[in-house]
Amino acid sequence: MKTRILGFVALTAVAAMTGIGLFVVPADLNQGDAQRIMYPHVASAWLAYLSFGVTAISGILWLWKRDLRFDAVALAGAEIGVMFTAFAIWGGMMWGRPIWGVFWQWEDPRLTTTALLLALYVGYLLLRQLTDDPERRATRAAIVGVVAAVDIPIVHFSVEWWRGLHQTATIGSPDRVLNPAAPMVFVGTLLGMLGAFTLAWGYLMIRRYQLARAEVQREEAARLDRLMSARTAEPAR
């Protein structure tokens, strides 16, 4: 019941912030309406990083405590993180088309880093699907999740260097929105969207966790069932 209330609140908040972002806040002077994409875009990117952090920490906790509930949290984090990453990339491309003139800008380190992030965690999810035993799956996933999380900062720095060691930031990078000089309306809207998205993230995490637990219980029940039927079938042979 509490979760349902959270879901309702999150939905209302996202809807309200979408309305504010689209109709209440004035358009950006330089970028026009395209700048409005930045509100959900930055919020998704932040939640993607948060999710992958949760996955890495839950993985370590599984290796340490050997409690499958941590693995369910790790799975929820990875899956929801992949969703928000994909959403962030999509938003970035939609913004890039009118502002940069292209969907994909190789010189933007964030875009390329995020694409690699998506590849890392899609691999993580595929690996999970290929292992049937819940504990093995949890262990393999945990260490792959930890190494992926360790890799993220290296990817970020290398890509940042790669696009040119002596080049100024791309025009209209997301930093500008968080710049203190930016008008308070924009900052307030961004923070509001961040809060609304985080509420939605919390709701999704809880639901995905519950689903993951239910799946594991079903797997366990099915396995017990097979064992029992094998035992009862034996004397008949």
């Binding site: 993580y124 290929l130 260490i143 792959v144 890799d151």
Partner: protein
């Protein structure tokens, strides 16, 4: 210090076992080398025949070929362990798990180094690049690159070796993780070949060192969990 020396000796024993098996069977090196040669040839067809363009793309082609062939090689090296319960025996060694990781990684490093050096020579010949002029920075880059691929490859081959779909899962998991290494190695190679006009070679080599150290530590810390399962 004595513990470190003892563990290094144990790791070398594991590495020697792998090297010996590789020398006798040549499971990994020969197939990986031919694969790299074919890849280079196809790169030439895809980008050629303009030799100036091929020479400009050569550092990238070199490292792509090394990474692709390296994935094949680490896969073969680990496949060896799945036969006759060898992996279980390895897990029974009464030594710290990081030692086994180090041994496997050193064995992989030796194979990867041979691979990278031969591919470097082939790139020099095929794409008409003077590698002798910058041999020392190139050698450092190759050593650091080979170490990184071996460190990551040993870890991920351990993850995927018992999966049904390991042939596709190994590259899928490894390639995104190797992206920083690819960037650093390509940039360092290009800088070395150009005589380092912007003085950025050192920065790229530092990136490679950082990548290698972090991945070796992460692999050594987590490899034990793989052997247990």
């Amino acid at each position: 210090m004595s513990t470190l020396r003892r563990e290094a000796g144990l790791a070398m024993a594991v590495a020697r076992k792998d090297a010996l098996a590789e020398l006798r069977g040549r499971h990994a090196t020969v197939s990986a080398l031919f694969f790299a040669a074919v890849v280079l040839l196809l790169f030439g067809f895809a980008l050629g025949p303009d030799s100036a363009r091929l020479a400009a793309a050569a550092p990238g082609l070199l490292w792509l070929a090394v990474v692709f062939a390296g994935i094949l090689a680490v896969n073969r090296l680990h496949l060896l362990e799945t036969e006759d319960g060898a992996l279980e025996q390895l897990a029974l060694y009464p030594v710290p798990r990081r030692v086994i990781y180090a041994g496997k990684a050193i064995g992989g490093f030796a194979v990867m180094l041979v691979l990278a050096l031969v591919v470097l020579g082939a790139v020099g010949v095929l794409f008409a690049i003077d590698i002798a002029a910058a041999w020392f920075p190139l050698l450092v880059t190759v050593v650091l690159g080979a170490a990184g691929i071996a460190a990551v490859g040993t870890f991920y081959a351990g993850v995927t070796v018992r999966l049904r779909a390991r042939e596709v899962m190994l590259p899928l998991l490894m390639l995104p993780v190797l992206a920083p290494l690819l960037l650093g190695a390509v940039k360092a190679t290009a800088a070395a070949l150009a005589g380092d006009p912007f003085g950025e070679l050192g920065a790229w080599l530092q990136l490679l060192v950082a990548f290698d150290v972090i991945m070796i530590v992460a692999g050594a810390a987590t490899y034990g969990f793989l052997l247990e399962d």
